[in-house]
Symmetry: C2
Subunit: 463 residues, 2 copies
C-alpha cells in the first residue's frame, strides 16, 4: 500500500500552488457565524465547499440544514466495509475581524508574506479542514481510491459553540458513524514539534449585566448617592478571584481531577519559559496560580476570563453620566470532570450572594461545552504519531489543549470512538486575534501527514 501514499504525496506537491489558491477563495468569504448580518456569507461558504467536494468525486455531497447554519457533508466509502472509516470534522465559520482591531491587511483578502497566509480563518479552521479535503483529493486523483473510508462533516457554528451540532449528529448518527474521528483545529509550539492533543477544556460562557438607575443620570445632579452600576460590576468581578489568582466561586474546583505526578512530569517537558511566554504574548510579566507551571495553567487547569466589558460612554470626549447599566462577557475554561451547567449554577448563585441591594444583576448563560480527555496508547492515536514521523518528518508529543472544541466530547460520547486532534497550526498563529496566519509549509506538510495517516490507519486494521 506504500505506493498509494507515495503517488498521492507526489500529487500534493505538484498541485501545491493550486491548493493554496483554492484556500484563498475560501478565505475571501467572511463566514462569521456569530453575526446575523453575515448569514449570506455562511451560505456562500457552504455552497463553495459543496461544489468543491462534488468536483473531487466525493459521494452524497450535501448542504444539510440544521436549526442554525448548515452542515456540509461528503463521503468516499470505496475502501469497503472491511476497512476503517475516518470521520473528519472541521468548521468553515470564523470569528469577527475588523481592521481597527489592528489588522495590517484586509482580514478577508488573503495575503502571502514571509511564508505565511494572512487572513481570518487561515488557521482556524479553513486552512486546516482543507488539508483533509486535499489529502483525499490526492488519493482519488492518483490511485482513484483511498486506503480507508472517509466522511467529511464540516459545520458552520463552531465559533458560536455548535448549538445545533449535537442534535444533527444524533439525527444522522448512522450516516456519520466512523471508527475514529480526526480533527485538525489545534496547534503546535514550533514546526519541528508537532503535537497530538488528547485533552481539551470545556467552557461555560456567560454575560453578567448590572442595572442601576432607569436611564443614564447626570453625574453632577445625581452622582454620589447612587451606586454606579459600573462600580458595582467592578466590585462583583473583583470578588470572583482570590488574592492568589485562584477562582473564588465556592465549589468551583470540586470536580477537577487532580493531575498525577506522571502527567505533570510529561507536561513539564513541554512547559514554556517565562521569557518564551512573554515574547509570544507581549505581556510584561506572567500571572496565574503559582501552584502550577505555565503549560498547566493554560491547558490543564480551569480559568475564568473577562472577554468583554461595557458601560456608559466610550466615544470621544468626556460625558459626565452615571450609566444606567454595565455588563461583561465571561468565559470559564473547564477541565475533567467539571460540568459546564453545574459551573454556571455555582457562578450564578455566587454572584447573587455578593450582589448589593443597590443594584440588580442578571447572569445569562450564553453557551457551554464539555471537557474531553482520551488515552494516548490506543492504535488510533499511535497511527497519528507514525503519520507525523513519516509525513511531517518529526516525532510528535501528546499534549493537553487549553482551547475548547465542544463537539469533541459529544462525538466521543455519542459514537463511542476516540477523537484524534492533529493540529497543523502554530501556537502563535493569532487565531481569534488580528493578523491571523497559517504557515504555508505547514499547510503542505499537513496534507502529506494527513495522506500518511489514512494509510497507517488501514495498516493498523490489517494487522
Amino acid at each position: 500500500m506504500e505506493e498509494l501514499s507515495t503517488a498521492a504525496r507526489q500529487y500534493s506537491r505538484e498541485n501545491a500552488e493550486r491548493f493554496r489558491l483554492e484556500l484563498h477563495e475560501m478565505l475571501r468569504i467572511p463566514s462569521l457565524s456569530g453575526d446575523p448580518a453575515h448569514a449570506g456569507d455562511i451560505r456562500r461558504m457552504a455552497a463553495w465547499l459543496d461544489e468543491h467536494m462534488r468536483g473531487l468525486g466525493l459521494d452524497n455531497v450535501a448542504i444539510m440544514p440544521t436549526a442554525g447554519h448548515p452542515v456540509v457533508y461528503g463521503e468516499w466509502l470505496g475502501a469497503g466495509p472491511d476497512k476503517p472509516t475516518v470521520l473528519v470534522y472541521g468548521h468553515y465559520d470564523v470569528v469577527p475581524a475588523l481592521m481597527e482591531d489592528g489588522w495590517h491587511t484586509d482580514p478577508f483578502e488573503p495575503v502571502e508574506k514571509d511564508g505565511k497566509i494572512y487572513a481570518r480563518g487561515a488557521t482556524d479552521d479553513k486552512g486546516q479542514l482543507f488539508i483533509h479535503v486535499k489529502a483525499l483529493e490526492s488519493y482519488l486523483k492518483t490511485a482513484g481510491r483511498a486506503p480507508v473510508n472517509v466522511k467529511m462533516l464540516l459545520e458552520g457554528e463552531e465559533e458560536v459553540s455548535s448549538p445545533n451540532l449535537v442534535p444533527f449528529i444524533k439525527e444522522h448518527l448512522e450516516l456519520l458513524r466512523g471508527d475514529v474521528c480526526i480533527i485538525s483545529d489545534t496547534s503546535m509550539r514550533s514546526i519541528e514539534e508537532p503535537a497530538i492533543l488528547h485533552s481539551l477544556r470545556g467552557m461555560t460562557y456567560v454575560e453578567i449585566e448590572v442595572h442601576g438607575p432607569t436611564d443614564d443620570l447626570h453625574s453632577g445632579l445625581w452622582g454620589g448617592a447612587v451606586h454606579n452600576p459600573a462600580l458595582a460590576l467592578v466590585e462583583i468581578l473583583g470578588k470572583l478571584y482570590n488574592a492568589d489568582n485562584t477562582i473564588a466561586i465556592p465549589g468551583f474546583y470540586d470536580d477537577v481531577v487532580p493531575l498525577t505526578a506522571d502527567e505533570r512530569a510529561m507536561i513539564a517537558k513541554t512547559d514554556l519559559t517565562e521569557e518564551q511566554y512573554k515574547a509570544s504574548t507581549g505581556v510584561p510579566a506572567v500571572w496565574g496560580d503559582a501552584a502550577f507551571n505555565i503549560r498547566e495553567r493554560i491547558a490543564a487547569r480551569p480559568t475564568l476570563d473577562i472577554n468583554g466589558l461595557w458601560s456608559g460612554w466610550t466615544g470621544p470626549g468626556p460625558k459626565t453620566i452615571v450609566p444606567s447599566k454595565a455588563g461583561c462577557k465571561i468565559s470559564s475554561r473547564l477541565v475533567g470532570n467539571q460540568d459546564p451547567h453545574k459551573i454556571f449554577e455555582l457562578l450564578k448563585s455566587y454572584v447573587a450572594s455578593i450582589t448589593p441591594p443597590t443594584v440588580t444583576v442578571e447572569v445569562r448563560l450564553i453557551t457551554t461545552g464539555k471537557p474531553a480527555l482520551f488515552p494516548f496508547d490506543i492504535p488510533e492515536m499511535q497511527a497519528a504519531s507514525l503519520a507525523y514521523e513519516k509525513g511531517w518528518g518529526a516525532t510528535p508529543v501528546f499534549t493537553r489543549g487549553g482551547g475548547s472544541i465542544p463537539v469533541v466530547a459529544e462525538i466521543a460520547d455519542l459514537m463511542g470512538i476516540p477523537v484524534v486532534m492533529m493540529g497543523y497550526g502554530l501556537d502563535d498563529d493569532g487565531l481569534h486575534s488580528p493578523n491571523e496566519r497559517f504557515t504555508i509549509e505547514m499547510f503542505h506538510r499537513g496534507i502529506e501527514t494527513a495522506i500518511v495517516y489514512l494509510e497507517e490507519l488501514a495498516r493498523m486494521t490489517d494487522q
Copy 2:
C-alpha cells in the same frame, strides 16, 4: 420703571408660541461639541444665534473665533454707564444623543407633549439661554430699551469643559466686563420650589487604560497565565473606594472645607427622602457615604464616578479572547477647596502604586474645572430672589449645585464679580440622558423672571 417690565411681560405672553417655535429651530441643530463629525452643526448653530440676535437689535453681534468652537457675542448697552451691566453666559453645544440609548423620539426633532418639549439641549442649555434672549427682546420690542445693560456670551464648548473659554475671556476682558454674571444652566426640585445656586462642584476627568498582551489572545491557548487587562482594571477600580463608599485615594479629602452646622441645617431643609430619590432615578436603594444626607452627597461632597468602561468583545455572541487592553472614563466632582490638578496627581500616583507588574497602566487627564462658592447675602443674589417672587410667583431657596460649570469659578476670579445661577429646569429633566425635556410653562415663567431680574438689578443701583 415698573411699566417697562409690565409691557415686556405682556409682550412675552403674546409671543409665547413664536418663542417656542424659534427654540424648536435651535433644537433641530445637533450641535455636539465633543464629536468632530458635528463641527459643521456647531457652525450652523452659531450662525443661527448670530443672525437671530442681529434681528432683535443687539449691537456688536459677532461669531468670535477661539482655538476650538466659536463664541457668539452680542450686547445692548443703551441703559448707559450709570446702570449696571449684566453678563449673560450660556452655551449652545450639547452632549451626544442616540436613539438606541432609549429616546422615544428623534433627539434632534423637538416634540411637544404633556406640557414639555422633548429634545437634546431642551433644558441644557438651549432652552435656558434662549430665556435671556427673549427677555431682552421683550424689552427692546416694547419700550425700545432695557433697565440695565446686557452682554450675551454664548459658548460652544461647555459640554467638553470649555477648554478655550478662559483664554477667550482673558483676551476680551474689557469687552465682556460686567457687574454681575447670570447663568441659567441649572435646575429646581419642582416648579413651585425655584432655587438659586450659590455653589457648584468642580471636576477632574480622566481616562485610565490598562495594557496587557500586544494583541487580543485566544483565551483557551493563552488564558490562565496572562493577567487579563479587564480583570486588572477591575482590581484597580475596586481599590478606588473604601468599604464605606468613601474614596480611597490618599489625600483626596485633605482640602475639603467642612460643612458648618448652619449650612447642614439649611441643606437638610431641601434634602430628598430615600423614596423621592428612588422614584426620580429608578434605583432599588440609595448608596453613598452614610455620614452625609442625600442632598449633601450629591451637592456638597466630592465624588468619583465611572462614566464609561470598555474592553474586548461587546458585540453579539461569544468571543473567547483575553483582550489586549481595557479602559474607563472617570470623573471626580470636587468641592471647595479641592484643586482639580492636585486631585489628578493624587489619583495618578495612587493608580501607579496599585498597578501590578503584570500589566501597564496609563492615566490621562481629559479635563478639569474648579469648584465655585459665593455668599448669598449680596444684592445681586437678593435681586434674583425678588425676581423669582415677582416674576415666577414663588420664593426661591439658595442651594448648592452638584453639577459643574467650569467657567463659573473662572469668570468670578477673572472679573471679581458674583455669578448668579438662576436655573429654570427641573432636577429630573433628563439632561445628559435619553428624552431630555424642558417644561413649557417653566420656559415662559423663566422669561418673565428674567425680565423682572433686569429691573430689580436696576432698582438695586438706584437705592
